[in-house]
Amino acid sequence: MDSNASIESESYRSFSSRRSISSHHSKLSASNSIGEATCAEMGSKKVRHGSRGGADSEGFNLSQKEISDEDARFVYINDPARTNERFEYARNSIRTAKYSVITFLPRNLFEQFHRVAYIYFLVIAILNQLPQLAVFGRGASIMPLAFVLLVTAVKDAYEDYRRHRSDRIENNRLALVLVDGEFRDKKWKDIEVGEIIRVRANETLPCDMVLLSTSDPTGVAYIQTINLDGESNLKTRYAKQETLSKILENMSSGLIKCEKPNRNIYGFHANMEVDGKRLSLGASNIILRGCELKNTAWAVGVAVYAGQETKVMLNSSGAPSKRSKLEKRMNVEIILLSFFLITLCSIVSVLAAIWLRRHRDKLDNIPYYRRKDYSETDVENYNYYGWGWEIFFTFLMSVIVFQIMIPISLYISMELVRVGQAFFMIRDGGMYDEASNSRFQCRALNINEDLGQIKYVFSDKTGTLTENKMEFRSASIWGVDYSGGNPDLQSEQVAHEVEVDGKILRPKMAVRADPELLRLARGGRESEQGKHVYDFFLALASCNTIVPFVVDTEDPSVKLVDYQGESPDEQALVYAAAAYGFMLIERTSGHIVVDVQGEKQRFNVLGLHEFESDRKRMSVILGFPDKSVKVFVKGADTTMFSVIDRTSNNNVLQATEGHLLSYSSMGLRTLVVGMRELSNSEFDKWYIAFEAASTALMGRAALLRKVASSIESNLCVIGASAIEDKLQLGVPEAIESLRMADIKVWVLTGDKQETAISIGYSSRLLTSRMNQIIINSNSKELCRKSLEDAIIKAKKLSGPNVSSNMEGSSGAVTIPVGLIIDGTSLVYILDSELEELLFQLASHCSVVLCCRVAPLQKAGIVALVKKRTSDMTLAIGDGANDVSMIQCADVGIGISGQEGRQAVMASDFAMGQFRFLVPLLLVHGHWNYQRMGYMILYNFYRNAVFVLILFWYVLYTCFTLTTAINEWSSVLYSVIYTSVPTIVVGILDKDLSKRTLSKHPQLYGAGHRQEVYNSKHFWLTMVDTIWQSAAAFFIPLLAYRKSTVDGPSIGDLWTLAAVILVNLHLAMDIVSWTWVTHAAIWGSIVATVICVIVIDAIPILPGYWAIFHAAGTWVFWLCLLAIIVAALVPRLVVKFFHQYYCPSDIQIAREAEKYGRLRDHGTVEIEMNPILEPPRR
């Protein structure tokens, strides 16, 4: 539990640090800026950047709570010997391989025996080795276990060999390491903590290191972290000013004190002492193994974590292992079977005891018992240890004989089946995402069948329901709304081009532009409106942390401008500004260059306050060419209106507010842009405060925040922008399908309520016939009251039958209720007694929409539901903020989308698009559940039939556990004779076609109602098992009564009868017969016949040639036929009556599929792979 909580808090921290990193202001290296010569050199003041303060502040806050010496590691820069003196830190060689040649056997066996199943096997095999208990021969008893162990070991060995090979390649790569004052090549594996390493552009970093210096004079380095978290955009990292200049000389004076290695790739706390000065280091000062250096000629750093202790290696652990619901359920029945096994064994030993007691006087001389051994001179008991021991031994022997009553092979079959199912899920072309070129991924292999029983889906919004690809849609400037871009015509997209040095520059992405606004923007600053438009777009182009990169295209005269940044919203805004002729083409620490309608203008960036989640706005202070200084601010409406000067331009303000409301009700993300001209005195005052704050040693972040709010005041509103986060393809249809499948969909989003509701409508989560309940309270008491009211209302609306009759809810005429609740209310509800009320309320609602929720609240909501119901929960999300929720839910799904791979790493399954949830749950989930449920029942039956046949025979052998069935046959029964068909059916059988299942989502209810696997089915199967085994045993018994039949002959008959019987039983239940199924079923029977023949062809076995003698008589064949028919008739009758007179939905759909009668009965056609369909706007 503890570790769980720490993971959650860690991911939360990483989430917030991500956001703050995103606003780091950056300096561009000279090589990346273009056309610098053409720009007029302006006297720019040397400015310290607020953003740097941001990076520092994080470190600083943490350095206040000093890293204690025990929890720290000390790294002496360029002095690996001293660094490793006291503690031997890990070297840089990595080892993903698990075994070496020597350790392979013991370690591999140790790991394999972690499975209970194998231990059971082993105990039985060991028991069997005791001479008193030797039921089977040595070989026969050990063979199956040895076989399974060997197969697994070979598989493991091969995988490990491949890991060894890749480790070797990785460890022998070369890096430049500072040795004796110069950089020399050194193998990666020999790098030690404390050494100084130089990395060149496009090289991979060999270990985690603290940046000391880069080719950029300001100490910036760009890295790509795609190997680490999958994010492809460039990130900026900084070397400390203090270390920039001392690359080679005098480096050994430094000491870094950093935290112990941990898995958090978004956090790093350390102090560095250089020249007696103490600096704090944060996540922006460290570059991690696996990342690539980009756009930076070289970078020098000191290794702080190496090899296994690097963050990437610490993160490369497997997915958490979960148990499926079906498997938990199955364990109950396994316990029942154990009781059944114990009962059988007790019956045998009690009967044996009675027999021994009644014959106690005769035991010495009965020819078939012969207790006394007369061969020696002193007559002793032979193999008889007294009556108590005999009973005990009989009991143990019967456990050995009946061991397969507990279907141990089932666990192995289940694993194989899940691998097979995963294979098909991964290969499903319907779940391949073209845009991200990603297939479906199965990361957890033990919960495939849970996908068929999901009742609650918790979904993130941004990046999950939507694409997280922001597109500029509308602008409101000075009270005028410009939303004229016709969304349906692609041709109207504008990509503004400018010519610089004879080369055409073009933004990488075109934006749909409003013609009127375009005209105004091109018209210049003459008109009043034109002036506001100029300010607006200048704000969009400058007030951000986007870095433009110029990329070559195939046409040498055209270059593309690619805007790199961590916030997709900012990217969209900058692209929009470019489209309207305000193209940001250069950003350095001191200035930006914006091409305004073809004319290059240079602005000095005098200061920048980065985006902060509690301020929810950012500002930039620009020095204009005409020496005026303006501050541009952009931010969320809630925080912007509090800092806006309401005295002037009230009508503009009101118009803007009106537009904002209409934008957000269209589901657009809005930002308000404001500006203010600064007087010289004002600027100087700010400058002094800013300078003081950013050099402060204590509480830098708080000081900077104060400075920021002082300047971000009395603003004049210019306008507002609206960005559309487009819904992913097929989301509305997918949500509708899920709702029809009686799955409750909860959407958890950080958006504000209006946006969330409008997205709810556009994704068909909310419909017009749905009744909305909104909970928006500011205190616990208010929450309680509104929850109680809402419950009464919801009960009235949804009718009385929801709670009493789960099945009826689909057919009943009720008004669906949608619940909308915000994060503030959730604060009072979660972790209090109100949770119960919320759950009651939510259980009446078909849709729940939570807005403004924090990442940890997401997990809290999932836990709230999970605690109170046995229904399965599924969480789906794409960002680091969804990790806690994904880990909390029964099934976690990661969207491999724009926001990195944190969610995918924590998930059980990963896929490219939300809409794949429909084929995943309704099709694959349904199949997996049906197959697995049936397979478990069948395996119980299959083994029990065999055990019971053995048991009946024991009653005719003085209860001495003789088996007429050859010991090899009993061992091979579950290994060869009957295993393949059940696995094949478990992987391949399809009760309904993909088309039917996705067309009729209601069919998913079979999993909710546990139709395939429940106690009723279990007990029915067991009764059937008793009948079938009795038929199989007693028909030959009576037919061969008083005959000359010998044990092996009748044993062969029983073997063949059992195998054919269980295979035909399976055949009766198979729905779709493909050639694979045919091959498996009939092949198994043929294989059994061959095996029986081979066993009977061994002259030193007592049963030599028995099968040929037996099969030469009519009785044998008549018995076989009678057994099969008599055993299966009751099942067929029950099956037929049930299918014909109480048909399940699945049965009807199957018939309809066959006879083509399935019409669309009030269902909506869902196109599973709508590639050709134009994207919904």
Binding site: P367, Y368, E471, G811, Y1040, R1041, T1044, K1154
Partner: protein, 349 residues
């Protein structure tokens, strides 16, 4: 580099070589197998199908049942229990003592043939309550030793009859030790009936399981005699009584072939059996019976299979009729979507 750019809005999209994109695509290759769209046959239990199947079963089973019963009735079987009858009245209080004491135990039984018996007439002895399938018993043998002369010392599995006087016993084990040793002689009207004792065991056993060069050694030499002894000069492969005995019976009541009478027996013929009553079943209340039986294509006299087939066939016919009636009275249209639970207004089942 621009992997996160949607192709639809990117101006650079056209410049990307499409073949490169295709080569790097992870799109799963389409095949009917991986998409789980293999052609499949999907049988459904329709009433017509089920009724036909049951009718078919009854059509097949009833004739077989009749034929089996007829075959069983054609078999003539005479069973004569002699274990008690062959003990003189004076010894009946302590049968075990009688059977263990030395002396002549010849006994004569007269059997009247009730029905014409065609040759060959099989002569069996039947033992009741003799657990030849007892674990201690079935394990107590050495197949290796029986097969080849070289394995004579391979007696570890034969305890407690592995060695006698320190020497291995051939054939060892409880099974061989307890060899049945009552003998029968048949005569009709004072004339000896020839009894063929050749070929009563399995040919495969004689040729491959019991060695031609393995001779009995040290057999029945111990202090406790369990049964018959063997002719030391005959190889095991020719000791057919032993071979028959060593094929241990599956059930506690069993018959073993003793020989074949190659003569027809007429109705009311009286067959006189001269038997040596030596074998001790008295210590465990086992019964001994002598059986003369003809054989049919189905084996010996056993009505069970015939009755079973008639029962199953009849039942299937009955079920077929019931299904037909029910089907006509209350049919259901297969695959009618109005039966689907969400199309029904109220719960129906």
């Amino acid at each position: 580099m621009n992997s996160n750019t949607p192709p639809s809005t990117s101006v650079a999209a056209g410049s990307v070589d499409p073949s490169v994109a295709r080569r790097n695509s992870k799109r799963p290759k389409y095949s009917r197998f991986t998409q789980q769209e293999l052609p499949a046959c999907k049988p459904i239990l329709t009433p017509r199908w089920v009724i036909s199947a049951f009718l078919l079963v009854s059509i097949v089973f009833i004739p077989i049942g009749v034929a089996s019963l007829l075959a069983s009735h054609d078999v003539v079987e005479i069973v004569d229990r002699y274990d008690t009858a062959c003990i003189p009245d004076s010894a009946r209080n302590d049968k075990v003592n009688y059977i263990q004491s030395p002396g002549n135990k010849t006994c004569t039984r007269n059997i009247t043939v009730t029905k014409h018996m065609k040759k060959p007439i099989y002569v069996y002895y039947q033992l009741d309550n003799f657990y030849q399938n007892h674990r201690r018993y079935v394990k107590s043998r050495s197949d290796a030793q029986l097969r080849s002369n070289g394995s004579a010392d391979d007696v570890s599995s034969c305890e407690p009859e592995d060695k006698s006087n320190g020497q291995p016993i051939v054939p060892c084990g409880l099974i061989a030790w307890s060899l049945f040793n009552d003998t029968y002689d048949f005569s009709r009207n004072g004339q000896q009936l020839s009894l063929n004792k050749k070929g009563i065991s399995w040919k495969s056993d004689r040729e491959h399981k019991f060695g031609k060069n393995v001779f009995p050694r040290n057999f029945q030499n111990g202090s406790l005699i369990g049964g018959g002894s063997l002719n030391d000069s005959l190889p095991l492969s020719e000791q057919e009584d032993l071979i028959v005995w060593m094929r241990t019976a599956a059930l506690p009541t069993f018959r073993k072939l003793y020989g074949k009478i190659e003569d027809d027996l007429q109705v009311n013929d009286v067959v006189m059996v001269t038997l040596e009553n030596r074998y001790n079943t008295y210590s465990f209340n086992g019964k001994k019976k002598l059986v003369l039986s003809t054989a049919s294509w189905l084996g010996g006299k056993n009505d069970f299979l015939g009755i079973a087939y008639l029962t199953v066939g009849g039942l299937c016919f009955f079920l077929a009729m019931v299904f037909t009636v029910v089907y006509l009275v209350k049919p259901r249209k297969l695959g009618d979507p109005s039966y689907l639970s969400w199309n029904r207004n109220s719960g129906w089942h």
